[in-house]
Symmetry: C2
Subunit: 553 residues, 2 copies
């Protein structure tokens, strides 16, 4: 009998394995299964599974409640342990696929398929909302759970990111919740636990509406730079290969969570954190959960945590948490729980896996050989960061002495970008972005910037950017300066390589003219020129004028 690979849980549940490969209820072949990995026979029928993992509430499609039912969680883990799930395809030590979606998320789909019942349709339903709610040209970093970012250049064309262009970093499937059936429970260490309907929450007589400009950023933004430098933990869901677009700026409208907690009588003495429960199903090392995270009460008290139903003057898209999500100002996006169904007062930070076991920031000497949950620290406030979004990496730029750069700059924790600097030489000489070229400052929003950078040099140049925030924090210099095993928070100076062609130089302008005359271009750059670079006569004259090739004596 082939043992599944899952270590501890496999041993725990070995007693329920059966051996008849004929009697396979789940067909996982279309999810990359191979013959040898066929799931073992088990006793539940499809109907039983559908009942076991049924949706919780009418009008809440795709929401399976796990956290209230330890027995159901145990059963799901038991079922998962019967499978020899394939690991992720390697995507760090080999070139990233040039497909879109870049990564598919096979394993996450397999988990859903394995639990059957209602949950198996979630990947398909979720993808439907990607195609419906997001721009056609999104870069689908991971198909399921959906992780996507817009094209670099477009992201910095508007101070407020259009909803359809805003990055999405989901940890599970998208539930479909009817707003009239929606309510959120507030319980745990609050003095007067309550259920609040969508109408209750939007009722201005109870809770004043509050509107805030908030930049949300995934701690994976620019992860691809860390991956290119050194591969780290290769879990495609946790560590999707994001570019510079896993950040977006929007005006959110809703109510301050502080008012809701006050409405529920405030916290019981000793409670100091608020836990959020999202409808999405989350998997971690063979266990099943709802998406659960927490923020400190101190953050809530400062009115920096919104429950929002409106994004840029429009109802929240389903993919962004409709009907109600949390928006935590200045924090890693992961705390801004979507499809919120429960708010719980607790003591200390949440012990749920996303809070305790994910989004940890390790030292460079910590990795697979010694990483613990306790030797990384938990990422909350996001540090100062920035990126050049135009031009893009590896571009050939024909110019007359200056190159136009545009990008974003952001600092979390209520700080704001106060100066942005760019360098045309990899970080030796810096030019300040003129203050007039920075967009409006907000406590919790990014600032877009643009500059014409003087460039004399030709050939490959390393352009880079750094931001200073109002607390004088600036960015680490190199990717290596802040590389970490889980590949989070790539906040080092953002660097791009561009090929500079300065046509204000005589020889270059002559070459460009000659190429044009012959219907040739400078691009593609690497394509060899089929024309002779110089006549024999000119060559000889040049060589003679410099004293010949070799010394005479």
């Amino acid at each position: 009998m082939q043992e599944p690979k899952r270590g501890a849980s496999a041993t725990l549940h070995a007693s329920i394995f059966h051996n008849s490969p004929e009697d396979i209820l789940l067909d996982l072949k279309d999810h990359g299964w191979e013959a040898g990995d066929a799931p073992r026979r088990f006793n539940e029928s499809a109907a039983e599974l559908a009942t076991l993992f049924a949706e919780e509430r009418e009008g809440w499609k795709g929401y399976i409640e796990w956290e209230r039912y330890p027995e159901k969680k145990r059963k799901a883990a038991e079922i998962l342990s019967r499978y020899n799930f394939k690991g992720n395809d390697e995507f760090q030590l080999v070139p990233l696929p040039s497909t879109n979606p870049i990564l598919e998320g096979k394993r996450w789909k397999q988990y859903h398929k394995a639990l059957a019942g209602t949950i198996q349709d979630i990947p398909a339903i979720s993808w439907k909302y990607v195609t419906k709610e997001k721009s056609d040209d999104m870069i689908h970093v991971l198909q399921f759970p959906y992780n996507g970012e817009p094209p670099r250049d477009r992201l910095v064309q508007t101070e407020f990111t259009p909803n359809e262009d805003h990055f999405v970093r989901n940890h599970g499937g998208i539930p479909e919740i009817e707003p009239e059936k929606y309510f959120v429970e507030v319980d745990g260490l609050v003095k007067e636990p309550q259920s609040l309907s969508f109408a209750d929450i939007q009722d201005e007589t109870k809770f004043p509406h509050k509107s805030l400009v908030v930049t949300l950023q995934c701690s994976g933004t620019r992860r691809i730079e860390q991956i290119h430098e050194y591969p780290g933990d290769g879990d495609e869901l946790i560590n999707a290969p994001w570019g510079e677009g896993a950040i977006g700026n929007a005006r959110y409208t809703g109510v301050s969570l502080k008012k809701i907690i006050k409405h529920c009588g405030g916290l019981v003495d000793g409670a100091d954190n608020i836990e959020f429960y999202g409808c999405d199903t989350y998997f971690k090392k063979g266990q099943v959960y709802n998406y659960v995270v927490s923020v400190p009460w101190r953050k809530v008290k400062a009115n920096e945590v919104l429950l929002a139903w409106d994004m840029n003057g429009k109802p929240l898209p389903k993919i962004h948490g409709y009907p109600l999500r949390v928006v935590v100002c200045g924090y890693i996006g992961a705390r801004s729980c979507k499809w919120l169904y429960r708010i719980k007062g607790i003591r200390g930070p949440s012990m749920a896996p996303v809070q305790m076991k994910e989004y940890l920031y390790y030292t460079p000497q910590v990795g697979k050989q010694n990483a613990m949950y306790s030797n990384g620290f938990s990422i909350q406030d996001m540090p100062v960061s920035s990126a050049i979004m135009s031009p893009i990496d590896k571009k050939v730029i024909v110019h007359s002495g200056s190159i136009s750069l545009r990008g974003w700059a952001y600092s979390g924790g209520g700080h704001w970008p106060i100066r942005v600097e760019v360098s045309g030489d990899g970080g030796s000489i810096w030019y300040e972005v003129p203050p007039a070229n920075l967009s409006t400052k907000y406590y919790h929003g990014w600032r877009l910037w643009s500059i014409d950078l003087p460039v004399d040099a030709e050939g490959w140049l390393e352009l880079c950017v750094r931001c200073w925030d109002n607390a004088l924090n600036t960015q680490p210099t190199f990717v290596r300066s802040a590389w970490n095993w889980d590949l989070h928070v790539t906040s080092s100076c953002h660097r791009i390589k561009v090929y500079s062609v300065n046509k204000s130089r005589k020889r270059t302008s002559e070459r460009l003219a000659k190429l044009e005359e012959q219907g040739l271009g400078i691009e593609p750059l690497t394509m060899p020129l089929e024309v002779d670079l110089e006549s024999e006569e000119d060559y000889i004259q040049q060589v003679i004028s410099t004293g010949g090739r070799d010394p005479v004596e």
Copy 2:
């Protein structure tokens, strides 16, 4: 009518184009031709082409003489101009193919096919000698003309590189020359021009045999590092993506060229360079040549230029120039002309394309937009260089406080490596390779080295090496320090990334033991661990011991 892409020569020969696609004598489809690129009708029959581009001498298969027949060269160029040859496939801005051969050399094969006659068989004949004379596990960097290097680790196992492992960098096909039919002409600015048979040259009563240890190195060695940093001129023949193995050390036996020239009465007054003609056919921007290069007489006079028929005590392999090749000590390998058929006294360096238009070393600001033949300098003496050959890049190394490194070090121009240093931190702290761990010093040979480098740190480390030669030259620090458009002479400190797992550390040793217990390994490194990293209890205890996650007040 579709115009071919070839610029000047296309315009020149436009008058001979014909339009009937039916009457196509050459079938180039199997060389990547597409329908729209079908060669145009022309007047020569296959038989005429075979006569036109016939082999020159009986017993010299695959040698077409071009340099003595300007009219034949013109005709060949005319024929080539009728084709819309495909450019190379892009191989720098995209990941290198993971095939072996890595690149195929389609265009070079097409040239041969287009000239038909005897020349079209040369690629197949040449490949036969690769399979016959070289090790099975060679890395075929370019299939035709053949460019290949041995696996990294094996190259530094022996001070003398076995012939079958020695790198090969050919510029054309391999001729098959019967030694009894072989002779070399010595002419040009020599006082008594002569033809010397193979027997004449090997006759010790005329010329004393001379044996020298010589390291030959392609100026493309380690080019892949420059390509990864910044793409340059993308001609796959000129700029094949070599690793660290385009270098080899051998003992060559033959005669000093100085003796041959003296035998021919010495040079005519004013002659100061010696030109070599190889049997291989070479193509450059639509023109056809024999492979021709030159060296200064000063170099010959110093007895640093051999005509060799023996390599490591064995007859020269065909792929290395059988029956007779030039071996130039301390110079770029390109000057060591193979299949030598002519030696010519000249004034000034050769104006042949390999000497004048190739192997030029540009400044970092020179590129496609402004490169001339005269603004790069011609590469002769090779600079000091070195490489780490074991371990290889990206390796995970489990150790107890030190890592074993091995590699080569070399300096051209008669210099020798006098000190080798390695660093475990990217080049801040350097450790000297113990002098006893350096192989024998030679004026023209490499030195192999090995060291146990003390390593405490864990995680990704950048290991690097640098060599000092007896003239106190050392290597540029970074690839960028010496990057150049034609991607030659990557002599910067060689750097590799390894993942260090120091099992003398307690936590690491515990993790390794735990993994072993569960039948899991630390590799593949990027594969996520399916086991929990820490129990909840241990986590809580740890977090409490550091004062909790957040401050209390």
